[in-house]
């Protein structure tokens, strides 16, 4: 079950507000 990180942060924040689900925001330098 891989984590499906999204990169459209604005849309993720909007979805969080709409659904009431928290966000995990990862600032990363790891190889993509």
């Amino acid at each position: 079950m891989a984590i499906k990180f999204r990169h459209d942060v604005d849309a993720v924040l909007a979805e969080a507000k709409k659904t009431g689900k928290p966000v995990l925001l990862d600032f990363s330098a790891a190889p993509m």
């Binding site: 999204r6 990169h7 689900k21 966000v23 990862d26």
Partner: protein, 150 residues
């Protein structure tokens, strides 16, 4: 740290996961790095549904500690939303599942605070101070709880 299946399940079950990469998403990294004051990688933020930061992890952690801190972040979000029962349950789960993690003493502390916030009954604070006499005695969290001992 991310390939751990326990971490993957916890993140997928509890969060909407988003990532900005310092090179591949450089414009987004700059935008959100400034917004949230992220100046180092990895920096992992637990945001409540309004986008307010409630928890921060900076730097690498081994899997057990990383998962315990993610759980602590999720518990802090429940706490910030005044979901006292859920917050207490989540804090206690950390102490039970990862008693040797460095997140555990902090979780034990807040597991005492959450029910007090919901009831104004100081019994949970006193019980927490007593619990700290049995474990994690030399941590900052034990010192903070010591004032509740009465």
């Amino acid at each position: 740290m991310w390939p751990d299946p326990r971490v993957e399940k916890f993140v997928n079950d509890n969060f909407l996961p988003a990532r900005v990469h310092v090179k591949d998403d450089s414009a987004l990294f700059q935008k959100y790095g400034e917004k949230y004051g992220a100046q180092w990688t990895p920096t992992i933020l637990g945001l409540d549904p309004d986008g307010v930061e409630r928890y921060r992890i900076e730097g690498f952690l081994p899997n057990d500690d990383f998962l315990a801190h993610l759980m602590l972040g999720r518990a802090q979000i429940a706490f910030a939303e005044k979901q006292w029962g859920e917050a207490e349950r989540r804090f206690r789960e950390i102490v039970e599942k990862f008693p040797d993690s460095d997140a555990a003493p902090e979780a034990l502390y807040w597991a005492g605070v959450a029910p007090y916030k919901g009831t104004n009954d100081p019994a949970s604070l006193k019980a927490t101070a007593k619990a700290f006499q049995q474990r994690y005695q030399y941590t900052t969290w034990a010192k903070k709880a010591s004032v509740w001992g009465g």
